[in-house]
């Protein structure tokens, strides 16, 4: 009797559990499948990782409204911090847009990536050169030029150097031209008889080109110096040697003003120290320069790229971001409106 009962209960539970399993299985099949959502954008074969099951209308809504796609950016290491700050904000608001930024130097970006049609934007710390324009034209890459911010190219010396705190453009040229002065005393007689230790930008850098054009001109750039793309390396070199001199973008000096001493540059109207104010007012000459970004016109035809470009231009007047976080001079309202006009025209042309 007892035995029978046991068998009975076991049978019952087995049946019960089978039924429960079947029910659960049916529920699972009904409720826990999802259909292929239309994968928007041109990003390729990515699977949408929308974990929320069901509610098709919701996911469709979001995929219609949200921008999606990828944006490839390369170019100047000087503009890199500014571009990544703007991209960070944009990526936060538009999670479906994938932005990648490479710091390749202005020239490297144009030659290897932008003018062969691999990137959507190229950052540059100087205007595009003629041979780069030709290369772009050869590959049918059209572009527009947008001003991103203003930088004060900063010449730095060691903190223990108390003699060379003010220099004329002519003296700077003597130090950096291809037939460069060997000793500090060659530049100015009262300066010490010590060798000049030079740290500067590599020749793929826009900073290098700008420095030649505005300081040395025809005389070219010396090859007797430590060339690097890394501001950090220049700073370490200069802070490690009492008779060293170097130059780089303003951002590094702005963030670490105690590490090095900036040289006040005299362009004929008395020495001017680099600062956000002197660069914005145009007093700091000839070393305050515009920074650029070049969007390709065909990329602007895509809505997510156009929207990013608009966002970038709108952020160029954001003082907290441009001056506070990165250390460049924000654009004026007027410049911003001009740039926005250029951009809107290009977008209209590309999309229309």
């Amino acid at each position: 009797m007892a035995h029978n009962q046991e068998v009975d209960t076991e049978a019952m539970t087995r049946r019960g559990s089978l039924a429960a399993l079947a029910g659960a299985g049916a529920l699972a099949l009904a409720g826990c499948t999802e259909t292929e959502s239309d994968s928007g954008g041109d990003g390729g074969s990515g699977s949408d990782s929308s974990d929320s099951s069901g509610s098709d209308s919701d996911s469709e809504m979001s995929s219609d409204d949200a921008l999606s796609g990828s944006i490839n950016i390369a170019g100047s290491s000087t503009v890199f911090p500014l571009m990544s700050a703007v991209a960070e904000e944009f990526a936060e608001a538009n999670s479906e847009v994938q932005i990648d930024i490479s710091s390749t130097g202005s020239g490297g970006g144009f030659a290897n990536f932008f003018c062969v049609g691999e990137t959507d934007f190229n950052n540059a710390s100087r205007p595009i050169k003629e041979e780069e324009q030709e290369l772009c034209a050869e590959n049918d890459v059209e572009y527009i030029e947008l001003i991103a911010a203003t930088d004060a190219l900063t010449v730095v010396i060691n903190n223990n150097n108390d003699f060379a705190t003010e220099m004329t453009v002519e003296e700077l040229s003597q130090i950096w031209q291809s037939d460069a002065a060997e000793l500090w005393s060659d530049v100015r007689d009262e300066w010490p008889d010590e060798e000049i230790d030079r740290y500067g930008a590599a020749d793929t850098s826009g900073t290098y080109d700008y420095f030649i054009e505005n300081v040395m001109g025809e005389d070219g750039h010396t090859s007797d110096y430590q060339a690097t793309e890394q501001d950090n390396t220049i700073a370490q070199g200069v802070s490690g040697s009492e008779y060293a001199i170097g130059y780089f973008g303003f951002a590094y000096y702005f963030q670490n003003p105690d590490e090095l001493t900036a040289v006040a540059v005299d362009n004929g109207d008395g020495p001017v120290l680099p600062s956000l104010e002197t660069a914005a007012s145009g007093e700091y000459q000839p070393l305050s320069r515009s920074l650029y970004t070049y969007p390709s016109t065909s990329s602007l035809g895509e809505e997510h790229v156009a929207e990013f470009a608009r966002y970038f231009v709108s952020q160029t007047t954001n003082e907290d971001l441009v001056a506070g976080d990165v250390g460049y001079v924000p654009a004026t309202e007027e410049t911003q409106q001009e740039q926005m006009q250029i951009l809107e025209d290009a977008i209209e042309q590309a999309q229309g």
Binding site: E34, E36, G43, S47, S70, S84
Partner: protein, 590 residues
Amino acid sequence: MATDNTATTAFGEVSRVRGIVFEYLSFGASVFGIFALAVLLIYVTIDAFDLANANPLWLLTYFITLVVPFLGFCLYSARDPAVTRRALVAAGGGLVAIAAVFTAIEAFVGQIPRLNWPLAYLFVVIIPLTGYLTYVGAQGRAGSVGFGLIGRLLGGTAIGLAFTVLFLVFDARLWFLVYTLGVVPAVLAYGYGRIRSVPTAQTAAVPVAIGGLFVAVFLRPVVDTYPTTVFIYLWTLAVPVAVAGGFVVNARGSRTAALAAAGGPLAVATGVGLLGQPLGLGVGGPNALLVVAVAGVPTAVYLHRVADVGEGVTGLGLPVLLVAGALAGALLVESFGLPAPDPWLNGSFVTEAPSRNAREAGLYPAIVGSVIIIAMVAALSFVLGVATSVFLEEYTADSGIVGALTRMVQINIANLAAIPSVVYGLLGLAVFANLIGFGFGTAVTASLTLSLLILPITIISAQEAIRSVPDDLRRGSDAMGATRWQTTKNVVLPEAFPGILTGTILALGRAIGETAPLIMIGAATTVFSAPTSLFSRFSAMPMQIYAWADFPQAEFRYGVVAAGVITLLIILIGMNGTAILLRNRAEGEN
């Protein structure tokens, strides 16, 4: 007497000075490298965890609640009074010595930046002592059980996380189809053939799998409805892991135990995966299911084995001891209001995107990029490297035209190993990115380039391993009538496997830290979201770390870069640890 005298004069005296000098020179050379590396790593660690700002009381609290119990456990496991005495002398003597040396240096030489005596004591005495005692403790039964358990928990979690990362770019739905139509039928056919001894069913397994793969690829664009990701993971990964665990336990013990060991973790994993988020546990979803299942099943199987053997059961308390110690430490720190250091390497660093603010900066997209690239490199270089070396060692002729050709290939491979990595970057740019069109800076281009880069190292080390298999074994196999393929498969490769893995470990370590070829193929410096396909632009950890090293803010150069370096090291060590475990297991089987 006379004979004695003549003997000494005839033998003369041999100067031992040269020998002693040589011994100490070689000792000095080995110490110099290790010492420089240790100083570097100590500073990177101090920066990454902000230990320079750690309150000595904070350090002391965790030392007492976490480190001391752990050392006690190791000593208990070792049960050797001599070791205990040595450890106490080292800890006590080291304390006095370090404090004295430090005070002397600070008094006479000057302040050592970012280092104080508690930290020096921690790095110079406590960490080596912990390492030594861990090693000694692991020899004891309780220790080996405890470390085995922790190893399975951590290793399972790491493998589960690695899977979730791979599924970011590999299509889970395609995998679902491949698994259902290819893997399951093939395994069923093979199992059926094994149990019923039907050889045709066994040989049919491979064609079935390949057929299933093709059907799956064909069906993927056609089929429109799939289970949700949770169910795909459950069906294709958690259930097989549980079934395998169940089989292992079943072979050793009872059917009930097998059911418990497999079903228990599976049920927990399913529960967490499905109900975790609705119930507000803070974790849940497909990834949690995967991690719990992959970590839980091996742990359960291990628990069963320990209980079955019945030795060293006390070792199972080790995880409890560590968790309780950490909690107690946190409680004490909280209640006494001790200021805690603010580490750069924390949870948000590994889960967030890069940022312009040092405090918010994270490495997540680069970690994902590196893990995906390295997984593909491992698979590619292992297959290509082993295939090449087997062919060169076992199949080609040694003489004649073929022999000359083989020697030429050999010389070229040896020379390729010495080519700078930038050249491989150029090759990758020209061939994979431009000619074949895999795209600039995509994961496919990156992993193919890096595979080529480490291929010579893999081939050479695999060749050495194959060459070191005694020829007697091959001849013995030949004498039994085995074909060359059978000899290679059954004798040579199993014998050479540990050596092959050693070479692969070294090569992969090089690949994960490579930057130059990545720059050449146009890999991105910074990306803000994890990649979604193999053809999207990638960043890798060394690229991002290099970019941070150039940021103007000092927080980036000292804090964030250090955190990135430590993360890279942890992933590298995890990867190598897996390979070393595999190798040791293979060596054990031999």
